[in-house]
């Protein structure tokens, strides 16, 4: 079980990886979304604000009404943000659940694929 601080640390690294990736920024340039994450085993929640492909803020707790809501267990969430887990595999197995449009679901997976192509 990952602690809230572990996930926040992972999220901060994820933000740097995403924002420094030029290809990803170009691909997501028209993607502006507020994303909520819920670690279902700990109940911790996190908010990520993406504006035109750039992650502006990541913070603990829920802020605003989201465009995308992602539920996973805390360990998977931590591994996902560190790039150690293939989210598509977990999604297809039903272990990561997403409430969003189909386009957003694919875009979220695309982020991982672009910054860590070998996951």
């Amino acid at each position: 079980m990952a602690r809230s601080e572990d996930i926040m640390e992972a999220l901060k690294d994820y933000k740097i990886q995403c924002n420094n990736n030029k290809r990803l920024r170009r691909m997501q340039r028209d993607w502006t979304k507020l994303i909520h994450f819920l670690a279902e085993d700990t109940g911790d929640t996190f908010t990520m604000d993406v504006v035109k492909g750039e992650i502006i803020t990541v913070q603990a707790g829920k802020e605003g009404t989201p465009d995308v809501f992602i539920t996973a267990n805390s360990e998977d969430m931590c591994d996902m943000f560190w790039g150690d887990l293939n989210p598509a595999q977990k999604y297809l197995d039903g272990e990561i659940r997403v409430k969003a449009s189909q386009e957003d679901v694919q875009r979220i997976d695309a982020i991982t694929m672009i910054i860590w192509p070998d996951t």
């Binding site: 465009d67 931590c78 560190w82 293939n86 197995d93 659940r97 409430k99 189909q102 386009e103 070998d118």
Partner: protein
């Protein structure tokens, strides 16, 4: 349940479900249903087919409420049976379903030739239109253009209303002689049953709306939407198919035409009517085919990302974020299929096969409902099919019987000549099922092992946990 900024309303679930099912091939399939029984009584087979699809929609609703995800069918089968079976069946279903594109593009090319006439040569022109249509839809997907809910609502509801109005107008001006039709020797239980089996084709695709569960406020909405869509389609097809049959002359009925709706419109409203129906045909094919490419390319992308098919299919375009390799592969597959249909002219083979495939997947889904109730009895279900296992069992028996009935039948042209024995559809499906099973059971484990080896060789980025 999380509340999202933008959610899909029930009307859009209904319009998407009905819109996915409505395509140009439905007019021809509807006429085939009418010819198999007695035209004026075709509505019986259509309503029965719709009623049976409702049973299946109930099963889909329970499964969608259990696993409200776009990974739907794979996930239901995976939890009910195992992953390899899930991969084999979902690939069989998705790729098999994609073959409808061949028939659809063939029929649409007939419509386009009718509207602009022959330019070079009938076959060359037909292939040209088929390729143009497929490439256009592929391009729209490649650019990442998505038909919004409002456009889908407008398109579907205007098409449904238009078809019902035209049907009622036809009844008003020419009437329908039911009493003579009932006395016809062709009005037999056997013919009604066979026509019902083909009638299932009219509803093919209603369940492809399941991925929208992730965009709704209430998971029950998708199930409700599917059922309402089937009800709307049943009424619309019943009215329109009988009207179309009544509005065609005996000669036209037996001409083997692929564009009965255009001829019917011309009979009724002259060239303007034909032009309106041509536009509607193009729109119906476009929305249906566009959704097919969109859903299938995402499925192919997800399968590639999960190391079930080669990774190359997960490549994304740098500008549009669209899975371009998956889209180009599907477009190529559609063009090859369309060419095969063009040279063999066996579009009815694809229609029969698609109806059988649909019956098969309904049987599998009903089996999943029964198995998952045993395996996951306590998991929350926003919708549960009533009366215990009665409806899933009835669904299994009815659709298995319809599929078998279809396979032992023969497909004939409008003059009664045998076109092909339907058991060839069963043979084609069996070969394809063997291929997908071989792939799932023999090739996928290798791909997964290679992916695991890659994952193990990669240095973990996550810092090791500090022990207190």
């Amino acid at each position: 349940m999380a509340v999202l900024k933008k959610v899909i309303k029930l009307r859009t679930v209904v319009s998407s479900s009905a819109g996915l099912a409505m395509a140009t091939s439905c007019y021809l399939a509807g006429l085939q249903v009418a010819i198999m029984t007695v035209g004026e009584l075709a509505w019986i087979s259509i309503l029965v087919a719709g009623g049976l699809c409702l049973l299946s929609a109930m099963c889909f609703s329970e499964l969608t409420s259990l696993f409200p995800t776009a990974a739907g069918i794979k996930l239901y089968i995976q939890h009910a049976f195992n992953e390899k079976t899930a991969i084999a069946i979902s690939m069989f279903y998705v790729i098999g379903g994609a073959t409808i594109v061949g028939a659809e593009s063939y029929l649409l090319s007939s419509v386009l030739i009718e509207s602009v006439g022959v330019i070079l040569h009938p076959i060359a022109d037909r292939f040209f239109w088929q390729v143009i249509f497929i490439v256009l839809v592929g391009y729209v997907n490649f650019k990442g253009v998505v038909i919004t809910g409002r456009i889908q609502d407008f398109l579907t509801y205007s098409m449904l209303s238009f078809l019902i109005c035209v049907g009622l107008y036809t009844f008003w001006i020419s009437g329908v002689d039911i009493s003579t039709a009932i006395e016809s020797p062709r009005f037999t239980i056997e013919n009604v049953f066979t026509a019902t089996a083909l009638g299932v084709f009219l509803f093919v695709g209603f369940e492809w709306v399941a991925p929208l569960a992730e965009e709704t406020e209430d998971y029950k909405m998708v199930g409700k939407g599917m059922m309402l869509a089937i009800a709307l389609l049943s009424i619309t097809y019943s009215v329109f198919v009988v009207a179309m049959y009544s509005g065609l002359t005996e000669e036209q009925l037996h001409s083997g035409t692929t564009i009965p709706h255009i001829i019917f419109a011309r009979n009724l409203f002259g060239p303007v009517g034909a032009a309106v129906f041509i536009c509607m045909s193009i729109l119906a094919s476009f929305t249906s085919f566009n959704s097919g490419i969109l859903n299938n390319s995402r499925f192919v992308y997800a399968m590639a990302r999960a190391n079930i098919i080669p990774r190359v299919f997960s490549k994304l375009h740098s500008e549009n974020a669209s899975p371009w390799v998956a889209i180009i592969s599907l477009v190529g597959f559609a063009i090859v299929l369309s060419f095969l249909i063009l040279i063999t002219e066996q579009f009815l083979f694809i229609i029969v096969m698609a109806a059988a495939l649909e019956c098969f997947i309904y049987v599998v889904m009903a089996l999943c409902v029964i198995r998952l109730r045993r395996i996951l009895p306590d998991r929350e279900r926003a919708f549960k099919v009533p009366f215990g296992s009665v409806i899933p069992v009835v669904t299994i028996l009815v659709f298995a019987a319809l599929m078998l009935g279809m396979f032992i039948d023969t497909t004939r042209d409008s003059l009664g000549n045998i076109l092909f024995h339907n058991y060839w559809c069963a043979v084609a499906m069996l070969i394809f099922a063997c291929l997908t099973s071989f792939y799932a059971f023999k090739i996928v484990p290798g791909l997964k092992q290679a992916a695991e080896a890659r994952a193990k060789s990669r240095k973990r980025r996550r810092p090791p946990k500090v022990q207190n």
